[in-house]
């Protein structure tokens, strides 16, 4: 399968790139099927491109870019059920990124990350609470960069 996009050209969709969000994203409920586009020039960001309408796309990054090991995100039983999470399943945690126009400052929505069950590619935009889990958490601040290097590249999830 291929998706034709204006911004990223023609995307050859492999099954391991697809993500299924049965509930869509908040405010974008009609977009349930996405492709995770990994292009070197955008690292550490990826693009989540809607298969329904590829003009709808979101920049995401790995939540490890933001989270120290102490900030483990707790999923509710409703989230676990929505992801059909079973013992031994690995999850991926993505944070949606936005930019303030004209500024080279990225923020991530830590309040509502996208959690994906790596086994079945089922995902949900969950709502989580906790210190520092803001809707617009700055990504490039020096404190966070040093925090990130202090905890190493180890995953903040398990």
């Amino acid at each position: 399968m291929r998706i034709e996009t204006e911004e990223f050209g023609s995307i050859a969709v492999a099954p391991e790139m697809r993500i299924y969000l049965p509930e869509g994203l908040h405010g974008f409920e009609e977009h349930q099927h996405f492709v995770l586009l990994d292009r070197e020039e955008y690292h550490p960001f990826f693009w989540l491109v809607s298969e329904v309408d590829p003009r709808v796309r979101f920049a995401v990054t790995d939540a490890d870019r933001f989270c120290a090991a102490s900030e483990k995100i707790t999923l509710s039983p409703s989230d676990e059920a929505a992801l059909d999470l079973a013992q031994g399943d690995a999850i991926s945690l993505f944070v949606i990124v936005s930019l303030r126009p004209g500024e080279q400052r990225a923020t991530g929505n830590l309040r509502a990350p996208i959690v994906m069950n790596a086994r079945n590619r089922l995902a949900r935009q969950v709502i989580v609470y906790g210190n520092g889990l803001a809707v617009r958490r700055p990504m490039m601040s020096r404190r966070l960069v040093s925090l990130h290097s202090a905890v190493g590249a180890g995953p903040a999830r398990d």
Binding site: F58, S98, I127, M140
Partner: protein
Amino acid sequence: MLILTRKLGENIRIGEDVKITVLDVKGGQVKLGIEAPPHVAVHREEIYEKIREENRRASEVDPRALREVADLFKGTQKRKKGRRGS
């Protein structure tokens, strides 16, 4: 919309397993206690609005601008690696 009047300490039940209790009324504020099973998500309405708004903003990110930020980020990582090596 169904409208019910409740006194302090009284409840409303929604279905079999959701119970809302009026705990306190002070000034213009009402404190509610909500008992619901774990599979029912309970959030303030504003948080949904905030997340919808942030998703909408995020959907307008310009790929060229993001690429510039990505380059900045790669630069930071290179510098960090360099420092560690010296």
